[in-house]
Structure formats: structure tokens, C-alpha cells
């Protein structure tokens, strides 16, 4: 019920903010449902952000000053568009870089074989 479908929620928990920031840095502004659909689409359904994870994170990022919102009336209702602030933009780049580095490090660990271990000894 958290961010599920293919990956365990523990795996994705730490990367949720980065995913949101990255998504928003790719476009001017997005609304909540749009973010979930976009993530689903580009990951071919492997990552499915649930509302229960997305909205608390969006509100937290907004409170931290990384996002701003703009309300527009769409289809008889208020729709909140989220976009990155200047700080948010900088933080998005940092976060993505951090994640990339982390993935590289993870690869080393994941690809660890007895040979590697022996070599390093």
C-alpha cells in the first residue's frame, strides 16, 4: 500500500523524494495524479507511486520550500500544480547525483563475486 507493485517499499522509500524532484525538474509544473501516471508510464508500470506516499511527500517538500503550488480551476474543481522553486531545482540535481552515485556503489556490492573478494585481498 506504500509505493508498490514490483519493488519492495523498503527499496523505494529512500528514493521517493528524488523521484518526485526529478519528475518536476523535467517539466514546468505537474499535479499529483499526473506525477503518478507519468512515473507509471516511464517505468512501464514497475513503479507505482501511491497517493498515500505521494501527497505527504509533496506537502513536506512544499513546507521545506523546495516546491511551490499554484491553484487552477480545471473541470469544476481546484487542481494544485506543483513546481520546483529555485532551491528545489538545486536540490533536485543534488539528489539525482547522489542517487546515481549510490547506484554505482550498489552495483559494486551486487556484482561482488568470490573472485573479486580474492583479488581485493
Amino acid at each position: 500500500m506504500y509505493i508498490c507493485l514490483m519493488y519492495s517499499k523498503e527499496l523505494l522509500k529512500g528514493t521517493l523524494k528524488t523521484i518526485i524532484l526529478k519528475m518536476l525538474s523535467e517539466s514546468d509544473s505537474m499535479y499529483g495524479y499526473q506525477i503518478t501516471q507519468k512515473v507509471k508510464e516511464i517505468t512501464e508500470g514497475k513503479i507505482n507511486l501511491t497517493e498515500g506516499a505521494l501527497y505527504p511527500a509533496l506537502h513536506k517538500l512544499e513546507a521545506d520550500g523546495l516546491l511551490t503550488t499554484e491553484k487552477k480551476t480545471v473541470g469544476n474543481r481546484v487542481r494544485k500544480y506543483y513546481s520546483l522553486t529555485q532551491t528545489g531545482n538545486g536540490r533536485a540535481k543534488e539528489k539525482v547525483e547522489e542517487l546515481k552515485e549510490f547506484m554505482e556503489t550498489l552495483k559494486v556490492i551486487v556484482n561482488l563475486t568470490p573472485q573479486n573478494l580474492a583479488w581485493s585481498n
Binding site: G32, Y33, G52, Y55, H59, V74, G75, R77, V78, R79
Partner: protein, 405 residues
């Protein structure tokens, strides 16, 4: 493209709110999200009703409420330390105030210190911290203003009560301004906000009713005055003692003039005891004036007499400083010394021990350091003591007169 009607949307809004979403900003997000889900499903050919059902069901049993809880948790996580401090200072303040009140009732030492420490940690630590936490938890211009006003009102009211207990100046001003802020500014703001976010339910109304009713009751209790009858009788009692003393003094003068030329009486002894009785009367008056002037220094004797006769209730409830009549050559200790001398002389002449009724309030008047007490009690006790001596003296003079005739 499918578009939901306004009616559909307000139905969804009600559903979301009914599931416990109170944060307006979150509710916008969720309503829009659910609408999008429904629209997608309807585009796939489902009916509005089944699309709505499926969408709401997809959140799970407490899913929607959990979203708000998770959001609040994330938003308030970093003020946990502040909350902890707030809780600790709050508990400390409450404990100190409770202990202080118990100590005060029991007249144990340290009550004042506990009150002051408790009051200060309540007003200057707990409440500001609570305000900071509230502002972080519930941002927004209007709610921030109402929080600040409410907290200032609360601080002023509590400090006012503390000042009142400690007999410090400006207590009434603080209490009244605190009450005005709370009732006239904070409460309307609070009701307005509750009405605006459509939270005017039992859980909101009950605190409002309790606050208004409680404050009114407290206000009337603090402002409560005795009934007119009681006030008149207090004034009469006071005047009665004074008149009684005056006529006794006149009677004594008369009796003295009748016996003063008699050679069968030892005039020295009579003169001495006469002097003692008069000194006691004069000293009582002096002490009364000292006590009155300890707080009403800026008034002339004339004005004070005027206050006493026209507005006795207010006058008699005024507090005087006890230390002004304590450790003084011309204070209560001296008065008791003179009374003892009088009693000894009286016993020597008549052979009988005089029976005086001394109020045990005097122990308090003599011992308490830098405390205040209402005129009503101190003046009454001193006047009654003086009256007893003067009446005793009448008896003595009559004893002499009996010898003469």
C-alpha cells in the same frame, strides 16, 4: 473527454472530508486525484457510480485518513524536540502550581516561590513553545494571527492571576486585558475559522461554550461582592466600635474629673494608669493611620476619612502593608507592651486579673514578613482591643468612684 459535474465533485468532497481529511490543502489534492481516477475509469466505459466506488475502495480501509496522518507526521517531525520541551515545561508548571496552592492553603513556607516558578514556566516557557508548535503545525495568516492573539491573551490572564496571588501591581489590568483579548478577539476568530472550514461541530462548539461559560463564572467569582445588607452591616459594625470607644473615652474623662480631687485616693497610681489607658488609645489610632497610609500615602487624612464614611466597602477591602506596623517602636509590639503594663497595674489595684479577648489574627500580623492584609480585619482587631482596654478602664474608675462616695 469525460468531465464530472459540480454535483459529483461536491459529493466527492464530502466523501473525502467524511474520511477525516481536515487539511484544506490536502483535500484539494485528494479531491482532484479521485476525480482524475474516476474520469479515467469512466473513459474506459465504467459508470460514474462504480468508478467512484472503485476509486474510493482503492485507498483501502483507512487509506485516506492515513494520508493526512502521514502528512501531519512528516510536517511536524522536526518539531518533536520542541514538543518534548513543551511537554516537560508544561508538566513542571502544572506540578509547581498545584504544590504551590497546597502549600499556600497549609501556610507552609515556599508557596510563593512555587507559584512564581510555576507561573513563569507556564507563561514564559510553555505557552510561547506551544504557540511556536501551533504555528508550525497549522500555518496560514489567519490561524497564525488567532494563535498569537489567543496565546497573548492566555499569557496575560495567567500572569494576571499570578500577580493577583502575589499581590503585585497591575494584576487587574493584566487579567482584564487577557480576558478581553480572549473573549472579544480570539474567540470570534476561532469561531470564524471553524465556520469557514466547516468544522462547527460538537467537538468545536463544546470548547467554545465551556470557555465562555467558564470565563464568565470566573469573572463573576473574582468580581463578586457581598450583598448590600452584608456591606451595610459591616459598615455599621465598624462605626459602632468607633462610637462605642468614643463614648467610653468620654465617660472615662467624666469619671476621672469626679475622683481627681479626692485625697483618700492615691492620685499618683490613678494618674499612671490613666496615662497608660490614654497612651493605648493614642497608639491604636497611630497604628491604624500608619497601616492606612502604607498604601494610601498619596491621600490626605481628610480624603481618607471621606472614603471611609462614603465608600466603606472599598476602603475596608484595601490592602495595607503589615510590615509598616510590625517591627517598629510605635507599632504593634509597643502596643502589646503597653497593654501588658496596663494589665499589671490593673491587677495591682484591684487584685483581679483583667480578662482580655485577643484575636489570634495578631500572631499573623506580628510575624508575617512583607505581606498585605485588608484594612477591614486589621483596623477592626486593633479597635476592638482598644475598646476592651477603655471599657476595662471605665470599670476601674467606677471602682475608685465607689470608694469615694
Amino acid at each position: 473527454m469525460v468531465e464530472l459535474t459540480e454535483q459529483n465533485i461536491s459529493e466527492i468532497e464530502v466523501l473525502i472530508e467524511a474520511r477525516g481529511v481536515e487539511m484544506k490543502e490536502l483535500s484539494y489534492d485528494l479531491v482532484d486525484h479521485v476525480c482524475c481516477m474516476i474520469e479515467t475509469k469512466m473513459e474506459e466505459g465504467k459508470s460514474y457510480t462504480s468508478a467512484l466506488e472503485e476509486s474510493i475502495a482503492s485507498f483501502g480501509k483507512n487509506g485516506i485518513r492515513n494520508i493526512q496522518e502521514e502528512t501531519t507526521f512528516l510536517l511536524t517531525k522536526n518539531i518533536l524536540a520542541m514538543r518534548k520541551t513543551m511537554h516537560i515545561t508544561g508538566i513542571t508548571a502544572a506540578t509547581l502550581l498545584l504544590l504551590g496552592s497546597i502549600f499556600k492553603i497549609q501556610h507552609w513556607p515556599g508557596a510563593a516561590l512555587m507559584y512564581v516558578l510555576g507561573g513563569i514556566s507556564l507563561c514564559l516557557l510553555f505557552m510561547p513553545l506551544f504557540l511556536a508548535v501551533r504555528i508550525k503545525e497549522k500555518p496560514g495568516k489567519l490561524s497564525t494571527i488567532s494563535n498569537i492573539v489567543g496565546m497573548l491573551g492566555g499569557i496575560a490572564l495567567c500572569l494576571g492571576i499570578l500577580f493577583k496571588i502575589m499581590h503585585w501591581p497591575f494584576a487587574s489590568i493584566l487579567m482584564n486585558s487577557g480576558g478581553v483579548l480572549l473573549i472579544l478577539i480570539f474567540l470570534p476568530l476561532y469561531i470564524y475559522q471553524a465556520a469557514k472550514t466547516r468544522q462547527l461541530k460538537t467537538s468545536t462548539l463544546v470548547p467554545i461554550i465551556v470557555a465562555v461559560a467558564g470565563f464568565s463564572l470566573m469573572f463573576s467569582l473574582v468580581r463578586l461582592q457581598s450583598s448590600q445588607n452584608v456591606r451595610t452591616s459591616r459598615g455599621n459594625y465598624h462605626n459602632n466600635i468607633n462610637q462605642n470607644t468614643e463614648s467610653t473615652l468620654n465617660l472615662n474623662t467624666l469619671l476621672i474629673s469626679e475622683i481627681e480631687n479626692d485625697s483618700t485616693i492615691n492620685q499618683n497610681v490613678v494618674n499612671n494608669i490613666n496615662q497608660l489607658a490614654l497612651s493605648i488609645n493614642n497608639l491604636s489610632d497611630d497604628i491604624n493611620w500608619k497601616f492606612i497610609k502604607s498604601t494610601l500615602a498619596e491621600y490626605t487624612d481628610e480624603e481618607i476619612k471621606n472614603k471611609e464614611s462614603t465608600d466603606f466597602e472599598n476602603f475596608s477591602n484595601t490592602m495595607g502593608m503589615l510590615n509598616s506596623i510590625q517591627n517598629n517602636e510605635e507599632g504593634l509590639p509597643q502596643l502589646f507592651k503597653l497593654i501588658d503594663e496596663y494589665k499589671t497595674a490593673y491587677t495591682k489595684i484591684t487584685g483581679a486579673e483583667p480578662n482580655l479577648l485577643i484575636n489570634n489574627n495578631f500572631e499573623y500580623y506580628l510575624d508575617t514578613q512583607s505581606d498585605m492584609f485588608a484594612f477591614r480585619f486589621v483596623l477592626r482587631d486593633i479597635n476592638l482591643l482598644n475598646l476592651q482596654i477603655q471599657q476595662l478602664h471605665t470599670g476601674l474608675l467606677q471602682y475608685y468612684k465607689g470608694k469615694v462616695s
